[in-house]
Structures are given as structure tokens and as C-alpha cells.
Amino acid sequence: MTTNAQRTIPGFGLIKGLGVTITTMFKTILFPKKYLATVNYPKVKETPVPRARGVIALDQEACTVCMLCARQCPDWCIYIEGHKESQPPSKPGGRIRVRAELDRFDIDYALCMYCGICVEVCPFDALFWTPEYEYSESKMGNMLHDMDRLQDWMTTVPEPPALEK
């Protein structure tokens, strides 16, 4: 293998380069659908893949305040508070059940590094990834999403993609 392309007439390489740019220009002008690589972002949006790690959604009903996610989080960016409550028995005469209620579930997206460990360790399917990405803020403090905001993301959780074979 040689690292030298064949020697040619001086100036030929320049002309070849000019040919590449002008072909691209005409291709882009004539067939924008096929050759345009970018989109007009706020007007046109690309759909992210279903698995994209955009933002974490919380299903409050499923959460049992087990604290696993907060303990496994490498950045310590999940803050959970909860208390226990007794619930009436489901059948008359049954046992009184104790259930943990969520008081606070905050994720500080200013700290989060989107590793997904919390979603992975959650044993009760309370946390989900959604590919939403438009939640930038002008103030750092607003990056702290409380449990209601996290619950709102639940509507955007996509179906998992079909698998290869």
C-alpha cells in the first residue's frame, strides 16, 4: 500500500476538487430531499430513535420509594422523600396494607449525566427513558424537575423498537 496517490499534472487535483463541490451544489439544489443533510430545526424536527436517552419519566403510581435509584446514581442527583401510609384492605377482613407514598422525587438535570443506571435498577418499572430533548432552561435552578414534571414526561414514552430477527 502506498501513501502516495499517483502523480498527476499540476492543477488537476484542484480541478477535481472544484468538480466535487459543484456537483454537490447542483445535487443539493436539484434534489434537496435526497442530498440535504440538515433540516430547518425549529420548523422541521427530526424524530429521535425510540431508545434515545432524552429525559427520564416517572410513573408515580409504580414507585415504591425503595431508594435504589437514588443510591445507585453516580452523580447523586436524585432526591427522594416518602412516608408510609396504611391502606384499607382490598377484601373485607383482609390485612391492613402498608404502602410507601412519594412526597418528593426530584431529578437535577444540571447534574445528571444520562447514564441510565436509575432506569436500569428500578425494580418496579417506575422510571422510563423518553427521547424528548427540548427542555433547556435559562436558569440552572429550573433544571431540577419535580415529580409532577417527571410524571408529565410519561406521555412521551415510546414503544420499544422491534428487534432484529
Binding site: 484542484l14 476538487g17 463541490t21 459543484i22 451544489m25 443539493t28 439544489i29 442530498y35 443533510a37 430547518n40
Partner: protein
Amino acid sequence: MTQFITDMFSNFWVSLGGKLLLVALMVPLIGMLLGFAEMKLSAKMQSRVGPYFAGGRWGWAQLIADGVKFFQKEDLIPEDADRPVFKAAPILVLVGTLALFVVIPFGPGLVFQDLSVGIFYALAIASIGTIGVLMAGWSSANKYSLMGGLRAAGQLIAYELPLVLAVVGSVIMAGTMSMSGIVEAQISAGFPFVLVQFVGFGIFMVAALAELSRIPFDMPIAESELVMGYVTEYSGFRFLFFFLAEYANMFTMSAIAATLFLGGYWLPFVPESTLEFAGPLILIGKVFLLTFTMIWFRWTFPRFREDQLQTLAWKVLIPLALANIAITATLKVVL
């Protein structure tokens, strides 16, 4: 009514004022037009969309929005800068550009001032801009600016010579240095001089690119090396001056090349009687063809190194230009 207008424009001061106004309007207009063309064309060459937001369709108002933005920006002057020089530099650059418009013939008789040494004047005034660049580089109190300014000066010395020598061929063929005269010579000869003076034309375009410090000769700016070269410290409307001057300069240099080599406002097979109106359009068409080439080059080539540029100028272009002159002169005498 028409009589009144003719009378009014025959008054020296009124016509001077009118011409000044026209030039003053033309420079920003051309600057914006070419700037926008560059944005859009480069986008298409790189399979991008390009500006599209401002003004709705195609983003036609992008450059107007940019201009407004520049005027809103704070006018920063570095603390250690040489203030008067720093402020004067962009004005000088723009003045050099404005003064060039004076001698370009847009049609038969459609010229602001037909000087008998038109081309000489044009080439002399074109280098004033470089002095402005050197001033900008020196006064910014920034090492990158200084290096950019010095590179611009070195480039000026290296490229003024081939530029002038390349023109000489056309001047010999036309037998006059008046820009209108050269166009008329091409009309009477019946062919644009580029057919004979292709070497001169090539050298002129290469030297013009260097003079304009556009890629592949944009070492004075060289944003990957010198941050932004001599304009590093400029902001707001002073930066806008440099920006407009760059594009207006592209226009004037292309106009000179079109006039000298491509027949100016004349096109073969176009009846001479219509040149009065068609002339400016023909010239602008040719200019746009040349500026398109410059834009095309810019988005295709990398940049030279300063010493490679000097080698190219002194060892290739100047000998070529001299040989061209010698051959042209000999043929002129023989034929």
C-alpha cells in the same frame, strides 16, 4: 420635466451628490447581496440548508438582520489599542473600496468619472485597503492581529506586481489606460481580450484573490491559525465595515477583471444601441460569474502557507506575467 432633471444633473454639485449617494448605496447593497450569495451557495456546496429563517422565504433578510445586529453591538476598543489608528482603519478600508467604483464603466458613458489613467488609478487605490489592514493589525494591540497585518503587507508586496503586470498585456492591446477605452477597444476588435490574454487573465484572478485575501490566500485572516487575523479585536459596526469592504472589493475586482479581459459591458451579438440599458446588466452578469468562481474556490481549497504564497508570486506569476508582456508586445509590433 425631463429637461429639468437633465439640467439639475448637469450642475456639478448636484451630480456629484447624486453619484456619491449612488456609490454609498451600492456598496452595502452589493456587500449584502454577495454576502448572502456566499452563505447560500456555500450551504449548497456542503449539502446544508443555509440561512432560511430571517425574512421568511429563503432567509433573504439574513444579512439585513446581521447588519442590525452589528449596529446593536458594543463597540469594543482594547485598552492598549492605538485608538485613533484603530478607529481610522476600517474607514480607510471602506474608502479604498468606494473609490474603486469611480472608474468602472457600467455602459457607454455610464461611468462616474472616466479617467485617462483609469486602470492605473484603480490598481493604486486598491492597495489603500491593505494600508487600512496593516493599520488595523498594528493598532489592535494583539499579537494575532499584528501577524495578520504583517502577512497582509507581505502579501500586498508580493501580489501588487503580478497584478499590475498582468494588466499590462490588455493595456498594450488596447493602447489606452482608460477603462472605457479598453472596453471600446474590445468592441472594435470584436472579441474580448481574454481569448488572447488568457495568461494575463489567470494571473490577474490569482493575484486578485490574494489581494482580496480570500481562500486560498486568506493568511491575513486565517481563522484556524490567527483566530481572525487583523479583525480579531473589531466588533460591531467597525467589523461590519471590514465585512462590507470584503464583499464590495470582490465586486470591484471582478468588475475590473471583467472590464479588462471579458469585454466589460459589451457582449458579442448584442446590438450596440441597447448597451445603454443592457450594459450594466451584462457587466453585473459577468461580475457575478467571476464572484461565483471566487466563492467556489473559497469553499473548495485549503489555504497556502505564507512562504508558499511568496514562492508562487515571485517564482511563477511574475516571470509568467513578464513573458506574457514580452510576447504581447512583440506580437503587437509584428502584426
